[in-house]
């Protein structure tokens, strides 16, 4: 998860998703999941891309690193064990540390 957090910044996911609050892309730290909140869904979202602007990262990010990103994305909405989640990062504070966020029950808002 910590590695996923680092990759999230390095691959500029924050460019569209900010640090979970969204912007051009949907927020990742709330309970709304358009395409499903389970790890395979998130993996597909990253690798295949999604309509309305989510690019496909196939062959751009190796699979092993995609899974790390998946784990981190889950933790952004508190969907991971608290003891494993990352704490505050060494940057400007952009939101509550992941391990302090309340766990959100995922709500499906679209068709996967």
């Amino acid at each position: 998860m910590a590695e996923g957090k680092r990759l999230f910044t390095l691959y500029n996911c924050a460019g569209c998703h900010a640090n979970g609050g969204g912007g051009m892309g949907p927020a990742l730290m709330d309970d709304k999941w358009i395409y499903g909140s389970r790890p395979p869904n998130i993996f597909e979202s990253i690798v295949e891309g999604r309509p309305n602007g989510m690019p496909s990262w196939r062959n751009k990010i190796p699979d092993a690193q995609v899974w790390q990103l998946v784990a981190y994305v889950q933790s952004m909405s508190g969907q991971a064990p608290a003891a494993a989640m990352p704490s505050r990062s060494d940057h400007l504070q952009s939101g509550t540390p992941e391990n302090n966020r309340p766990a959100q029950t995922p709500i499906q808002t679209g068709t996967p």
């Binding site: 990352p86 704490s87 940057h91 400007l92």
Partner: protein, 656 residues
């Protein structure tokens, strides 16, 4: 007979001992019963006797020493040849972090405190250490902290950011998981244990000395432990604060060490090294006391320059707090500050130099006998002086900027820590083994032990000076073959084999002698200090009669029929409280009985410390059990012998 007055005005009778043997036997039986050590399974956890706790502390510290030694062996195997694949980087990082952490926090400081716990009450002439229940608590907190971090190591969660855990590497972003949390909480465990013992030592030395042991008659070992205790009290809070900030950053999301939010990565270094530098003197100063005890006994002369020696100990303690930035010379601090710390780091050699010169003078005018403890002292001189000189070179900022974080520094601190603290410690164990166990250690094996350790040590660590000059940095899990560091590393590993053999030989000698060594008798070495006045091992009550001290060298200045204190009750755990300066009797004080509550309190405390790594609920959940155990601990015992309004603490009364 002479009498004097305590501060309270009550007369104290000092009689010559050896009244009728029947009375002596009665007194002995009564003291044995009053001061008995609880037996049985539950009794083991309730013991508050300082000798038992001291022995346990020493034994536990040695187990950690052996663990630290195995970790070092693993490191040396990995570094023996270039590009080795014995340990990968993750495992190596855990191993070297644990080696440093275990050695510094779980072996070096506790073992020195343990020697004090055992010896100080005997040397000052009292029946137990001050705050005996706190002593028990301290041991168990130490034990549980050590167990926590060893278990963490066994589940691949050992701390891996170095024993000094610099941020941001040890912070929440760069050390995920619980590794650094275990490290930071280990600090908390060992600080609590160390502070507890430090407080006991100060109280014992200041207030429980036998009458006649004025300040200028206190043995040098006791002085060294007093200075150490004060250093612990002033240094430990800094690292507790620093590690608490780290834990808060990692678990709660504070920004103490986050530069982006106004924190500072250097804050950690200042807080850590403000503790870290006195820490090495905390380890080293007790060894100075041990050397004084051994040199005096094995030259059969008082140590030359008592006053200079005491002042040197105190000066080392003070100046040791003004050096910490010399660990941070490479961080780009202003030049004026650096020069100050250079000067302070140079000046601290002066008290150490005074001590070395006084010991040499003592050897000069004494009649040296080269038994094993004395051999270790000679080895200490040879090794420590070299280490001290390499330390002087490190005080120079330009030179340090080249050798900082290289194997030159590794060589330096092993010379001063192994040579300056462990060699005296091993010598001290050979010296006091007869007192603790009643048997002598094998002298033949002792000489072999010394040479194995001495040669092994130098073969291991001297080449590291050169490796540092050749540019080999620290904390590297491997190095390229073309750098040419291979041969010297191989030599160092070979020396490590000898060191391990020496360690094993020491354990073998100790175990064999414990079982089948020659019976020692009270005073096999014709020692200088008071512990040699009682049996080996001492009875549970330490001394049949509290002695009255007649000179600086309690045993050598003793008259033929030395005076003792009377008037202390033998049917309850009474000790004599004397005043700080002249050790005049003030009053009698009853120490608490053995109790299971300190152990229970240590369980709750440990559960709280470990639990808080995983959940903030640990705090509210622990408060109630903690309160309960503290209430049990401090529950006042109705005095069984209270007659009406008689107070618990009363002046000593003259007996008819």
């Amino acid at each position: 007979m002479e009498s004097g007055s305590g501060q309270s005005g009550a007369p104290v009778e000092r009689v010559e001992p050896y009244p009728d043997p029947a009375a002596e036997a009665r007194l002995r039986r009564q003291l044995e019963e009053t001061w008995h050590v609880p037996a049985g399974f539950l009794g083991w956890f309730a013991v508050t006797d300082h000798r038992t706790i001291g022995r346990r502390y020493i034994a536990t510290a040695f187990v950690f020493f052996l663990i630290g030694g195995v970790l070092a062996a693993l490191m040396r195997i990995q570094l023996a040849v270039p590009d080795n694949h014995f340990l990968g980087p993750d495992l190596y990082n855990q191993v070297f972090t644990m080696h440093g952490t275990v050695m510094m926090f779980l072996f070096a400081v506790p073992v020195m405190e343990a020697m004090a716990v055992y010896l100080v009450p005997l040397m000052v002439g009292t029946r137990n250490i001050a705050f005996p229940r706190l002593n028990t608590f301290s041991y168990f907190v130490y034990l549980f902290g050590g167990i926590m971090v060893i278990v963490a190591m066994l589940v691949n969660s050992a701390p891996d950011a170095g024993w000094f855990a610099y941020v941001p590497l040890s912070g929440p972003d760069y050390t995920p998981g619980k590794r650094a949390d275990f490290w930071a909480q280990l600090i908390t465990f060992t600080e609590v244990a160390a502070l507890a013992v430090a407080v006991e030592i100060v109280a014992t030395v200041f207030k429980m000395r036998a009458p006649g042991m004025s300040l200028n008659r206190i043995p040098l070992f006791v002085w060294s432990m007093l200075v150490t205790a004060f250093m612990i009290i002033f240094a430990m809070p800094a690292v507790v604060l620093g590690s608490t900030f780290l834990l808060l950053d990692r678990l709660v999301g504070t920004h103490f060490y986050n530069p982006a939010e106004g924190g500072d990565a250097l804050l950690w270094q200042h807080l850590f090294w403000f503790f870290g530098h006195p820490e090495v003197y905390i380890i080293f100063v007790p060894a100075l006391g041990m050397v004084s005890a051994i040199v005096a006994t094995f030259t059969q002369r008082p140590i030359f320059g008592y006053r200079a020696m005491v002042l040197s100990l105190v000066a080392t303690g003070f100046i040791g707090f003004g050096l910490w930035v010399h660990h941070m010379f490479a961080t780009g601090l202003p030049q004026l500050g650096l020069t100050y710390f250079t000067a302070a780091s140079m000046i601290i050699s002066i008290p150490s130099g005074v001590q070395i010169f006084c010991w040499i003078a003592s050897i000069w005018r004494g009649h040296p006998r080269l038994a094993t403890p004395m051999l270790f002292v000679l080895g200490f001189i040879a090794i420590f002086v070299l280490g001290g000189l390499s330390g002087v070179t490190l005080a120079s900022v330009p030179f340090d900027l080249q050798v900082h974080d290289t194997y030159y520094v590794v060589a330096h601190f092993h010379y001063v820590l192994l040579g300056g603290a462990v060699f005296p410690l091993i010598g001290a164990l050979y010296f006091w083994f007869p007192k603790i166990t009643g048997r002598m250690m094998s002298e033949r094996l002792g000489v072999l032990n010394f040479w194995t350790l001495f040669i092994g040590f130098n073969v291991t660590f001297f080449p590291m000076h050169i490796l540092g000059f050749q540019g080999m940095p620290r904390r590297v899990y491997t190095y390229p073959a073309e750098m040419g560091w291979g041969p010297l590393n191989l030599v160092a590993t070979a020396g490590a084999v000898l060191l391990i053999a020496g360690g094993a030989l020491f354990v073998f000698n100790a175990v064999r002698s414990y079982v089948a060594g020659t019976i020692a008798g009270d005073d096999p070495w014709h020692g200088e200090t008071l512990e040699w006045a009682t049996a080996s091992p001492p009875p549970v009550y330490n001394f049949l009669h509290i002695p009255v001290i007649e000179g600086r060298h309690a045993m050598w200045d003793r008259s033929l029929a030395p005076p003792v204190v009377t008037g202390l009750r033998s049917d309850c755990r009474e000790v004599l409280i004397t005043d700080v300066m002249g050790a005049e009797p003030v009053h009698a004080y009853e120490l608490p009985e053995p109790s299971i509550w300190p152990f229970l309190c240590s369980i709750v405390t440990s559960a709280f410390f470990v639990g808080s790594i995983f959940t903030p609920w640990a705090l509210p959940v622990s408060i109630l059990p903690l309160t309960v155990t503290l209430i049990g601990w401090f529950w006042p015992k109705p005095h069984p012998n209270l007659r009406g309004d008689q107070p618990l603490v009363r002046p000593v009364e003259a007996e008819g």
